[in-house]
Symmetry: none
């Protein structure tokens, strides 16, 4: 099965937003054994959209369309779809009820524009949108399937996961495909590739390997294509076992695992708790914990100690230590981590203090200098890192590094 993705919207063509929808959809289609032949971004323009639909139909079996669906008048996708499939529109009762329900929950009275969201082309099967008011639409014409979805990412993702992919799977047109992703930390892509060369070269033909680097991690994705799902699973699981024996210390998880959730599970296993004292990461480590459902079982909280006063008042960092060594120092990181563990009465604690940039660097402590301290049950570790000069990436790298230090400490203690 071959697919084309069409994104509709001037915001992509003027560079106001980066088209992340296409990448996500392309990944999902590939994971389900569907090759994406082309991605096309077009204007909110009738003639242009019609031409794109026509071209896509001529070369693919599946056309996914996003964007151009919403309550306002810059929305012309539905009109184009009616013209393309030569049909009229009607009000879909189920969609209207869902719009009413959704808006009344938020105490919004329905206006005409909202009501018009329930108008759908007669030729389509309506796909429910559980995250918004604009429904998805499924059309079939001359052996090609067309699916139109709103451009808001989480609405599109919901419709893809709840409606589109299950229907495609049911259609029986998909090849069997089995993916597993191994999450690797603390080794660069090219060095990893060198270490895995022999193993990689010996992989069977039907298993494909992809290196997906992301900041300090590399995700290794194994994809097996074939007829029997049982055989695919068995073959991939065997390869992963071998991989685990080659780089045992670098693998930290699988598939959708995150380092915060993994350390959370390790803490939960021993009934332990954690707190964080964040200067340069500014709340990002706490955010990583609290975005995990159920994290209140082990994460008690934290202090974002951005100013020196807060470091002293809430964490007990001494004025003399700050004066003698500066806020970005081993000594302050150690006092922060002990301070937060004591103040929040937890078994473990993490502290970060550094210069995220773009300003604040000196010759001795350039932008990117970060001290991270981890307090465990028996020992406290502290380490200095030199990241680069991009603020956003420094915050993210410091976060990943701190969580990974905790993970290693927890694993060492469990041994």
């Amino acid at each position: 099965m071959k697919a084309e993705i069409i994104t509709i919207g001037d915001e992509i063509l003027i560079g106001q937003i980066v088209d992340t929808n296409s990448a996500w959809m392309a990944e999902q289609l590939n994971l389900n054994g569907i090759e994406v032949f082309q991605i096309t971004s077009v204007h909110d323009d009738h003639g242009h959209i019609m031409k794109a639909l026509f071209d896509a139909e001529s070369r693919t079996d599946l056309v996914l369309i996003t964007g151009g669906l919403g309550p306002t008048k810059d929305d012309i996708t539905k009109k184009c779809l009616c013209d393309y499939f030569q049909c009229g529109m009607h009000r879909d009762q189920k969609t209207l009820e869902s719009v009413v329900e959704r808006l009344s929950k938020r105490n919004i009275t329905i206006n005409r524009l909202n009501q018009d969201q329930a108008l759908v082309p007669d030729a389509c099967t309506v796909l429910q949108n559980s995250n918004g008011t604009a429904p998805g639409m499924w059309f079939e014409k001359n052996e090609t399937i067309f699916v139109s979805m709103p451009g808001v990412p989480y609405e599109m993702m919901g419709i893809m996961e709840e409606e589109v992919l299950p229907r495609l799977r049911k259609s029986g047109k998909l090849r069997s495909i089995y993916h597993q992703t191994v999450l690797v930390y603390g080794i660069g892509e090219s060095m990893l590739a060198e270490q895995l060369e022999t193993w990689e070269n010996a992989l069977p033909q039907f298993i494909k390997l992809a290196y997906l680097p992301n900041q300090l991690m590399v995700r290794l994705r194994l994809s097996a294509y074939g007829e029997s799902m049982d055989l695919l699973k068995q073959a991939v699981d065997e390869q992963i076992k071998e991989l685990e024996s080659i780089i045992p210390d670098h693998i930290f998880g699988y598939n959708d695992d995150t380092i915060s959730a993994i350390t959370g599970k390790l803490l939960q296993r021993t009934g332990s708790t954690i707190s964080v004292a964040e200067s340069c990461t500014g709340g990002n480590i706490a955010h990583r914990y609290t975005e995990v459902p159920g994290s209140s079982a082990y994460f008690k909280g934290g202090v974002v100690a951005y100013s020196n006063e807060v470091k002293m008042a809430l964490l007990g960092v001494k004025a003399e230590t700050l004066k003698a060594h500066g806020a970005v120092s081993r000594e302050v990181a150690l006092e922060m981590v002990q301070g937060v563990r004591k103040a929040l009465d937890t078994d473990y604690a993490i502290a970060t203090t550094g210069i995220a940039g773009p300003d604040g660097g000196t010759a001795e402590k350039p932008v990117g200098t970060v001290w991270i301290a981890i307090a465990g049950k028996n020992e406290t570790q502290v380490e200095c890192f030199r990241f680069l000069n991009n603020r956003e990436r420094n915050i993210e790298r410091s976060t990943q590094t701190a969580l990974n230090m905790l993970r290693q400490l927890l694993l060492a203690e469990l041994k």
Copy 2:
């Protein structure tokens, strides 16, 4: 002048990378008055690339091509270009010298693959790449300009800035385009459209309006096309003034502004400081502040008070209050906001306490119930919100709502 962007490379079509190059190029072209008509991503495949070049030539005056140029897989794009422009290849001396110089600096001996990077189609003008070894190439055919660049973002950006844009400016073919985005908060897309209907219908033909919703905000983008930049600016600025008089309370910023940065500027204007006490937002508000460069001037820090013990120990929330009203209550939100302002000694403070989900909801307090309190210089506000049942979005919506409440309080005080 109308342009098309063609990106070549399987990594985009399998969803392995997000196509940020296109967004950057589109923005640059628009800023220079060139409308981007379409963005097309195609496979590393000869027939597919030839078809894309042919289609692009038929509808645009400028075709920017990225990807498929590099030491390992540069063959395909260059071969296609030679076929498309019916010419051979020759070694470009200046490019060869630059390759040798660049690699010898890094102590790399030149191999045949490196030498072949200096091979260029006879029909092109070579564009120097000051950040890498693969040169850019400029072709002209039947009034259409084609430019091919490597896909590595900073190499492409260098060639665009140093070679492509200056040449286009010199050509004198550029029309003027002027964009402004107005950021609107606290009103849904459809209700906004209703309020703006008369104004929108009266917009001059040469100004286009787009609604770009994102969580609780809507970005309104005005784009004006014409000959004189001065006239476009004047016309758009006049429309924005009118817009400001229709929805004065809902406009919170312009273009790339964020609510956290805007409240930061307001705080800085009066030399004020802020702290945050976060339960359900779990550090996300602190993160939003600390990702802004220079935020240490007004943001002193915060307490992520996820457990009740932390609410009591660090924020002085009373055990009786927690017992009588529960952690998710008006009373606890108020004690949190007063507690953090006192503990961190700031002029303003924000507190959040709620049920982010997916678990923890009750009939009385369902998932999505969030109390937000804002302490100002003279008054303290507290409000209850009912968001929906997606954890990630509840965190984000609570964050946006809290920052907007602060913004409104700051504005009211400045009046």
